[in-house]
Amino acid sequence: MGPVSWLIAIPMLTALAVAVVPARRWRMIRWVAATGMGLHLLLTAVVTVLYWQAARGDIASMKDALYSKLYLVERVAWFPSLGIQYYVGVDGISVAMVILTSLIIFTGVLASWYVDVRTKEFFVLLMTLVTGVFGVFLSFDLFLFLMFYELAVLPMYLLIGVWGTGPKEYSAMKLTLMLLVGSAFVLVGFLALYHASGLHTFDLMELAHAKFSSEFQRWVFPMIFVGFGVIGALYPLHTWSPDGHSSAPTAVSMLHAGVLMKLGGYGALRIGVYLLPEGAQMWGVLFMVLTTVNIVYGAMGAVMQKDLKYFTAYSSVSHCGFVLFGVAALNLMSFKGAVIQMFSHGIMTGLFFGLVGMIYGRTHTRMIPEMGGLAKVMPWLATAFYIAGLASLGLPGLSGFVAETHVLLGGFFANPWTSTVLAQVLTVIATTSLVITAVYVLRGLAKVFQGPITNEHYAHLGDATLPEKISSGLLVATLVVVGLVPWFFIDLIEGSLMPLVNRLHDTGAL
């Protein structure tokens, strides 16, 4: 079993290990989970190095490539009569996403260090969820992809419904049903691809060689894009997100906003744009308009929020809009921006939700007006929060700037299939969201952390504990490193994005 399969297997094995520990030994359970995910983080580092060694020589040759190249591939026939196989591997985008997920789940486990109610079921479900997510990022067979994708949705219901707060059951049900309706559309698209290709296989790399007619692409591309867009919080299908994230327990919010929402952008790129470039050309404009609404509407929604978690959730809707905007803009710069934003926002929102959870655990309120002056008692948490906020509004030196610059520049450069004027107008409108983001971030953080301490109970609160310091520290460090030294990250993904762009420009050759 190669390293990539281990990346999927380790969370599953951790879930089994947790299931074996007696339920009352909840302290041991969290150590088992942390050890498992720590090992996973190490393996991710190893896989990244292996990938880099294998792929570094190929980057020049990818400049004109029409087909993606995969590394560390493992294939086993599964249902041979239907052309279904267990087919996993990595390319640059996958590696970036796996690093993101690995970091978020490790820090998420640390952020869940004090969950003492039904701890065992909590961690089993969390590990199952993350197995699904890793599986999606590493699969290259459409059946396997869909199987992992849906596996990642269902534990959400139980995690939010049992361990959540607020209107948890309503939020859990709304989230689960909307995400599954989205995946229903993806399923229709996948089956249509399978039968129309005439190749009798679900192999993504082989399907790229099939010729799909323009008429076919015209209706299948939007179906797949919208299906993935539901989980990517595409306007107007984003409504599950504010309630879902706010009702979820901390680690679940971190994982969901940080990683699961990126499945939308990943699927749209990997399958939508890769297999159906003509469809992307036809529909890019509409999705650029919708995602611009996402960006601005999400930001304006965040301005209005009094609850810290809803504030973060709307901010996520806005930033995920950047991801899909980058995908819809259909050029190399914007694709790079989309992937960097997937990573950067993932880390940032994971950090945000983690910190909100830590603050809620201390103040027992999430309402911004009720908090004040917390920086005096929790300097570490306040600093981490500020760094996250600054990354959110795109301060240079942090990863948010790199991502948003690429996306907005890419949008401004437009593409041959969209009216340049329209693209530039949309980009300018999207850019205004940076100002709105600055407003809500700075205002909200100022109210919560600065000024006098408004409630004398707060004066006795403690700052971050060691597990909390490790988790927030790790995420802050990532934001800073990618912000200051982005070229390593960009080199990682650039080679994998070239085929997507080349296919768009060269639909005649396909």
Binding site: L82, L177, V181, Y194
Partner: protein, 480 residues
């Protein structure tokens, strides 16, 4: 002679049970259930080991082929598990005693009789054999549904079942009679050769399909299901939900593929519409159900909607897809019913809200039920997801993309009501003073085996590949 061996073994078992019931004392009658199970297990072994995969008997009226072979395996499996589930209730070992239930000997004899009927149904090659087998399969079910003599609901269930069932049988008989009239033949293959697309033929086909739609609970022939499922004793409901569906599917196989094989394309749009209506209505009405058996009736109705999508095509792949889904459905549905029967035996309760906190009083049974319910909803990596995926693929291949969308959305909606039960078990607090519930070893073994099946049937490719290898070419031979 070998070809009919499974049926002979089951008939022998039925007579053995009947005689044992006659001759043994009341105390010794505990042996009847194991006897019935032994008979069924022997028939299963005989089918797997000794019976050839093709052959004919009775002058061509009884035949065997790979599809028939698989159906027999399914029927025997369903019956075996159903007997295991009925044992405790009929032997009086249930914690909550039910008055008016007993007569074990007749119960098992009737159940074994239905199995014979179903096995003959799929092997019939002649309309009279077909009809007689159908009656043998369904009439004992009418009686079994009314088994609780002191319960008004049970009597109502039996009565409704017999009246509507007899009506459906009458329609089938009339349709078959018309086919005989049109072709002068009773042999199914000869009828297929002699059929021409006249309006009389379509009338005959419609009548037969109406009767079959009743058995398979296709909308708008589904109305009997809710009351009968709710009123019948719970182990009978379990058996009904899988066996009568299997028999209905077998009957449609005979009719659709064997008799009307050449006209499959003409039926496609109708099948698609029926499928869409069935799955949607089943799902929507299931949402408001409070009684778990009634709930399972509507769940079964919607599952039938997914199942008949395999007839769109004609597609050689539809045959293994439907057989595989039937296998998954038998295992999964019986897993859910194992939980329901056990809970009714322990507490006497049947309302969904009574399942509150089951995850704390008996975590393993709750887990098994949750796994089975998620499989019915089509959540990966469980076998229900894989089975549904293959059926959706058939619809997509036939160009019915709208139907795939409807089916996928319905699958999502169904998750809502399956989650209601999971919510009760896991999220709601327990009753005050709820004691831990115990599980007999029979139930524990059965439930564990079924839950393992639910988990493994989809992921381990062996089952689908074997079915596919056996049956993929079956349709081509018929639709020449």
């Amino acid at each position: 002679m070998l070809v009919m061996l499974p049926e002979i073994v089951v008939i022998a078992a039925a007579f053995a049970v009947l005689l044992a019931d006659l001759l043994l004392s009341e105390r010794r009658r505990v042996i009847l259930a194991p006897l019935a199970m032994a008979g069924l297990a022997a028939a299963m072994v005989v089918t797997v080991v000794a019976v050839p995969q093709s052959g004919e008997m009775l002058g061509g009226r009884f035949g065997m082929d790979p599809v028939a072979w698989w159906f027999k395996v399914l029927f025997l499996l369903a019956a075996l598990v159903s007997v295991a589930l009925s044992m405790d209730l009929l032997d009086g070992r249930a914690r909550v005693r039910v008055r008016g239930i007993g007569h074990r000997g007749e119960y098992y004899t009737l159940l074994l009789a239905t199995v014979v009927g179903m096995m003959c149904l799929i092997s019939a090659r002649d309309i009279i054999t077909l009809y007689v087998a159908l009656e043998l399969a369904t009439i004992p079910l009418f009686v079994l549904a009314a088994w609780r003599r002191d319960d008004a609901l049970s009597g109502e269930a039996g009565l409704k079942y017999v009246i509507i069932g007899a009506l459906a049988s009458a329609f089938i008989l009339y349709g078959l009679g018309l086919m005989y009239g049109l072709t002068g033949q009773t042999d199914l293959a000869a009828i297929a050769r002699g059929l021409k697309s006249t309006s009389a033929f379509w009338l005959a086909a419609a009548m037969v399909m109406a009767g079959v739609g009743f058995k398979l609970t296709i909308v708008p022939f589904h109305m009997w299901a809710a009351d009968v499922y709710q009123g019948a004793p719970t182990p009978v409901t379990a058996y009904l939900s899988v066996a009568s569906k299997g028999a209905g599917l077998a009957f449609i196989f005979q009719l659709f593929f064997r008799v009307m094989g050449g006209y499959l394309e003409d039926w496609a749009i109708l099948v698609a519409l029926f499928a869409a209506a069935t799955m949607t209505l089943g799902n929507v009405v299931a949402i408001v159900q409070q009684n778990i058996k009634r709930f399972m009736a509507f769940s079964a109705i919607s599952q039938a909607g997914y199942l008949i999508m395999g007839f769109l095509g004609p597609s050689a792949e539809g045959v293994p897809a439907m057989l595989f889904y039937m296998l998954v459905y038998v295992v999964t549905n019986l897993a859910v019913f194992a939980g329901i029967v056990w809970y009714a035996n322990e507490t006497g309760r049947e309302e969904i809200k009574d399942y509150r906190g089951l995850s704390r009083t008996n975590p393993l049974m709750a887990l098994a039920m949750m796994v089975a319910l998620f499989s019915l909803a089509g959540i990966p990596p469980l076998s229900g997801f894989v089975g549904k995926f293959f059926l959706f693929s058939i619809a997509s291949r036939a160009g019915f993309h709208w139907l795939v969308a409807v089916a996928a959305v319905n699958s999502t909606v169904s998750l809502y009501y399956y989650l209601r039960i999971v919510r009760q078990m896991y999220i709601e607090p327990t009753f005050d003073g709820a004691a831990s519930l115990r599980v007999t070893s029979a139930f524990a073994a059965t439930t564990a085996a079924l839950a393992a099946g639910v988990l493994l049937l989809g992921v381990v490719p062996f089952f689908y590949e074997v079915i596919s290898a056996d049956t993929l070419t079956w349709l081509a031979a018929l639709v020449r």
